[in-house]
């Protein structure tokens, strides 16, 4: 499989390796040491690192600046971009800005609604949606054109990804929606955190039946639970999250001090099981404010050392 961009993530996937990605949430302040510290914890255990874009609509250091910090440390960043805060001028402009630092992965998202964050009274933009952003990046890269039709001098060389949530409703269109994202230009997919493995496998079966796994690399998303409280919160309070009762009870039945350990066990077991699912091309480990556990998860899941490409 030939590659189209200088992306290391693309090369890993093209070589047939299982990819491992993780994420770093930028700080609510301007101290670069925060992002550098998180990056240092995971750098040897992942192929690329997502940098979130004002996740849950809480104002933070911008994804692009944090990506540049990672790039300067020798890591491979994945620039997350949401369509909530910027119109098509700003989005295209930031893509060029990222390309100017040879950031070569982008994840196109619509973003959480602003009512979840610290600026609930703000406007949202949504000039484009996530599928249209995928189309935009592909047009900029493949055709070397701006949306307005003009030529781009030195088009961005970006490996283009999108998110998929196999657990949101209505379930019947979840694979159709994945198909639309692939048609729009997604080359890799990172999924919502998977706890309901049966439902995820059902979704993957449907995706395979439509031939989608031949056209896009699906990275299964995993977030280790720190506690039974976190499991309950994710189950009851986070829209579009599917946490089966047995996951909650397994944590709840564990003494509090042992719960983090069991949370890691659940995550590692999920990876072991999903490795055998045809079409799962890798794993996206989102250890939210728990980056120090990524290395352990990757090692225990037999995904270490990371391949050289």
């Amino acid at each position: 499989m030939s590659t189209k961009t200088p992306s290391r993530l693309e090369k890993i996937l093209a070589a047939g390796h299982r990819a491992v990605t993780s994420e770093c949430g930028p700080p609510r302040g301007s101290d670069p040491a925060v992002i550098e510290k998180k990056a240092a914890l995971i750098r040897d255990h992942v192929d690329a690192v997502n940098v979130t874009d004002n996740q849950t609509s809480m104002t933070r250091m911008c994804s692009l600046a944090a990506c540049i910090r990672l790039k300067q440390m020798g890591l491979e960043p994945i620039l997350q971009m949401v369509t909530r805060d910027r119109n098509r001028i700003a989005l295209q402009s930031d893509i060029l800005g990222a390309a100017a630092f040879d950031i070569c992965n982008v994840l196109c998202l619509s973003g959480d609604h602003q009512s979840f964050g610290d600026c609930a009274q703000g406007q949202n933009v949504h000039d484009l949606d996530s599928m249209q952003l995928l189309q935009t990046v592909r047009r900029m890269r493949d055709d070397g054109k701006f949306l307005g039709g003009d030529d781009i001098a030195r088009p961005p060389q970006m490996f283009v990804g999108a998110a998929a949530n196999p657990f949101a409703d209505p379930f019947e269109i979840r694979v159709l929606r994945l198909a639309k994202k692939v048609s729009a230009g997604a080359e890799f997919i990172q999924t919502q955190c998977i706890y309901n493995l049966d439902k995820f496998e059902q979704w993957m079966t449907q995706a395979r039946d439509r031939g989608l796994t031949e056209r896009v690399s699906v990275l299964a998303g995993l977030t280790p639970m720190k506690s039974a409280g976190m499991a309950r919160y994710m189950k009851n309070r986070v829209p579009g999250m599917d946490v089966p009762d047995e996951v909650v009870s397994r944590l709840a039945d564990t003494p509090k001090e042992k719960q983090p350990e069991v949370g890691i066990d659940i995550c590692v077991e999920a990876i072991e099981r999903l490795k055998d699912v045809e079409g799962v091309a890798g794993f996206h480990i989102m250890a939210i404010e728990w980056e120090e556990k990524v290395a352990e998860i990757v090692e225990r899941a037999g995904l270490y050392p990371r391949p050289e490409v």
Partner: protein, 222 residues
């Protein structure tokens, strides 16, 4: 219709307390239907204002009037002969009516008595919900007759997002997911194949983004 909501009394009092002769001006169209600014609400507000100022020992003249429409010059002309007798107007029309009244009476202060909210329907007695944002280029043909611009919190053209849960929007359980409605409707119409088409990037130049809008019909111009 244009749906509006009564402004809090205190806010209106704050605006008009410095005047002596006030006209409370209703509108017989949308705001009458949504029970925010018709003849009935004009009467209620005028009485409340009279009572409030009377208790303060203020001698004020507060009159009531309701026009057929405040968005049409011919009806606004109906108060031409009395307008000079007032220091201020509290218009219970939508924002359109408030502005058009002010445009017609340049020397008369006009204050809004309602908050104009959206273009919507009477979904049930006492409940109005939004349906249209007037983007200037209707896409309802491709979305099963349900508008994602007006009804999706992220105005997604290719929804639903990952926050759709049990038919509800991620912003709250009392908000319906527009894309769930669109999918249900396309299925009912046997048109699910339309869901698979990627909606193109929207031209927002006919929306608010393009600046104030205007329609000129040569065939109707005098």
């Amino acid at each position: 219709m244009i749906v509006a909501e009564k402004k809090p009394m205190e806010e209106i009092i704050e605006e008009v307390k410095r005047f002596e002769n006030i006209l409370v001006l209703g509108c017989n169209e949308c705001v009458t239907v949504c029970e925010a600014g018709g003849k009935k609400e004009v009467g209620v507000l005028a009485s409340a204002l009279r009572m409030f100022f009377l208790k303060q020992g203020r001698k004020m003249r507060i009159d009531e009037r309701t026009l057929e429409r405040q968005c049409d010059p011919e009806y606004l002309e109906e108060i031409r002969d009395v307008a000079d007798g007032y220091d201020a107007v509290v218009s219970l029309a939508c924002g359109v009516g408030v502005q058009f009244t002010a445009e017609h009476y340049p020397n008369l202060p006009v204050y809004p008595g309602v908050d104009t909210c959206f273009m919507g329907v009477t979904e049930a007695r006492g409940m109005w919900t939004e349906r249209c944002q007037g983007c200037g280029r209707c896409i309802l043909a491709s979305t099963g007759g349900i508008c994602p611009v007006a009804r999706c919190a992220k105005r997604l053209f290719n929804g639903p997002c990952g926050g759709s849960s049990d038919g509800k929007c991620e912003i709250g359980k009392d908000t319906v997911c527009a894309w769930q409605l669109i999918i249900d409707r396309l299925r009912a119409l046997g048109r699910m194949e339309e869901y698979e088409r990627i909606a193109p990037i929207k031209d927002w130049s006919t929306d608010r983004a393009g600046g104030p809008r205007k329609i000129v019909r040569e065939d109707l111009a005098p």
